[in-house]
Amino acid sequence: MNDKDKDNQKYELSGLLIDEQEDRSIRAKLWYLWRLLWRDKSGLIGLTVFLIIVFTATFASQLSPHDPLKQNLHVSRQPPVWVEEGNAEHILGTDNLGRDIFSRIIYGARVSIMVGFLGVSMAFSLGMMIGLIAGYKGGRVDSIIMTLTNMILALPYLVFVVFVAAILGRSLLNVILIFGLTDIPIFVRVTRGEVLRLREEGYIEAAVSIGQKTPAIIFKHIMPNLLGPLITLATFEMSAMIFYEAGLGFLGLSVPPTIPSWGNMLAEGRQYLTVYPWMSIYPGLAIVITGFGMNLFGDWLRDALDPRLRRMKK
């Protein structure tokens, strides 16, 4: 242990890492982030799950042992490898048409991540802009935006989504658009509420008192304060979207059956639940683990993004 490490330890013991970001290089920042993660194991688990899923979705074609669409009735309804009649060729078994479940789960991650990520990005960016305008402008603009927002929020969410999905038809783009648009009001609300609170903060008055102009105040002083809560909300919304996508798939309203998705797999497995349970158990597990991981990650992110909470634990 060299002197610097000793120094760090001293600060850590005092509960506050004084030399945080002393070295502003990217390597130092990553190293700092890593230590922060290492201290909060649930965040580490969440991030790992998240990264694994993103990695799987990205390299699905390289990772999957079989073509997820290739049917082979000779090997249909095979149980997973650790069950007596299992076959090492199909680790998690096959479905009623002989398609490899493991490969289908890997490909299914693509749909989930696409819907979650693109849907949230859309809701996040649009919702934040609208919320900023509503919160900072106030007055009539604010009332109009909030009335519209409340009207959309008053619609029963899932029923509305099912309704739109039924009209627009089954395609990945439609699902993303539906989730992206219907999620905007939540981001508008949170953003607006935060802006209303932040607008009254002493440091906003202080920023005005040193002659900062309105755009500088919105983008430099208010927005960084928003990012923490909004990114946290985004991770939670992302896991919610993954759930809802699976739900829509289960109802047969998500992506077409030709695209493997976790929801579609659940729907197909439902008919065989008592005899061939592995057909629905593993895609179900994939959904649960993803949601769990994302929520853990979101919790950790909330702490990590707020400099006030960036004290070293223990």
Partner: protein
């Protein structure tokens, strides 16, 4: 010499659901270059609102400011009436020529930006400094306000600073563009006595170094005595007495100031007598004043006090008091001046 800031007949009114609040009623004062003016008065007397009005920091929708605040940037420079400017025009002066430091330094620093970022911000806006130049200047400023290891502290977040250091950082931001006027709005109230002394010393040192005028708002008369050259006493939203500091302590010529000074506990006292207080409570700010606001509590009140608002009488050299009662002759003032 021409005053650097001349406030004339400043009035501020807030419109609320319960009616109008008359927070500042006819305040006038001059500030000379390099001078320290202390503004004293109890809570709600309109000290802070006066300063916020001058800088246009009150919400424009719910407040109404009238009067004038002429600022002239030095000999020969044109006078500007700060009250008449729009916020965009005011932005050229705020932080550049006139700075303010607030009472609660933690609330005044953005928690998600580093202290360094917040110091360089003002330099970039007003002086157009690039990153490198602003960094250099910020380090100088941090050193100037007495923060050790400024290069390390530059990248710290406000929560990593102690209370005194935060106020020092706020002062660094305020003086970053070497303003002509520094308004200190009770900057030491939230600090303990030791730090309070340090901050006062620091401000005095900086004032000497940079040659700026300081308006020091406080309700601590002990601070005033050691710091200011001139004092403005405020009561009920108006300046009731202005005097050089020695004169004010020696010979207060407004009943309110007398009461205020009489209420200071003294160490020399035997400790057997009770502390003196001013009877009654501050005036109702929902009424537009039609007479002197101190009448309800004044020991010398007579009929005229209930009918007119007293003008500022020059009771001694550079010593003004808004009172119809002549405290030297112990009788109502005969002449109108």
């Amino acid at each position: 010499m021409k005053p650097i800031l001349s406030v004339q007949n400043l009035c501020t009114r807030f419109d609320t659901f319960d009616g109008s609040v008359f927070a500042v009623n006819d305040v006038s004062f001059d500030l000379m270059p390099g001078e320290t003016l202390a503004v004293v008065g109890e809570s709600g007397s309109g000290k802070s609102v006066t300063m916020l009005s001058i800088l246009g920091l009150l919400p424009r929708s719910s407040s109404k400011v009238s009067g004038h605040a002429y600022y002239s940037a030095g000999a020969g420079a044109a006078e500007v009436d700060l009250i008449s400017l729009s916020s965009d025009e005011l932005n050229r002066y705020r932080g550049n020529h006139i700075s303010i430091i607030f009472q609660d330094a933690l609330r005044s620093l953005n928690p998600v930006l580093t202290v360094g970022e917040q110091i360089t911000e003002s330099l970039a806006t007003h002086k157009g400094y690039d990153k490198k130049k602003a960094y250099k200047r910020a380090i100088e400023l941090l050193e100037l306000v007495g923060i050790s290891q400024p290069d390390k502290r530059f990248n710290n977040y406000p929560h990593m600073f102690s209370g005194g250091m935060r106020q020092r950082a706020m002062i660094a931001i305020a003086i970053s563009c070497t303003p002509d006027i520094l308004i200190a709005d009770e900057p030491t109230t939230a600090l303990d006595v030791t730090i309070q002394t340090q901050i006062i010393e620091l401000t005095r040192h900086l004032q000497h170094e940079l040659g700026m005028a300081v308006i020091w708002i406080t309700h601590d008369l002990g601070v005033v005595a050691g710091l200011a050259e001139r004092v403005l006493v405020m009561y009920g939203g108006t300046g009731v007495e202005t005097a050089p500091v020695d004169q004010l302590y020696e010979k207060p010529l407004h009943p309110y100031t007398q009461g205020l000074l009489g209420a200071i506990p003294s160490i020399a006292g035997s400790g057997t007598h009770r502390l003196v207080s001013i009877e009654g409570s501050p005036p109702d700010m929902f009424q537009k004043p039609k007479h002197c606001q101190y009448t309800w509590r004044c020991p010398h009140v007579f009929e005229r006090c209930w009918n007119e608002i007293p003008p500022a009488f020059e009771v001694a050299e550079k010593h003004f008091s808004k009172c119809f009662y002549d405290l030297i002759k112990k009788e109502p003032r005969a002449e109108d001046r």
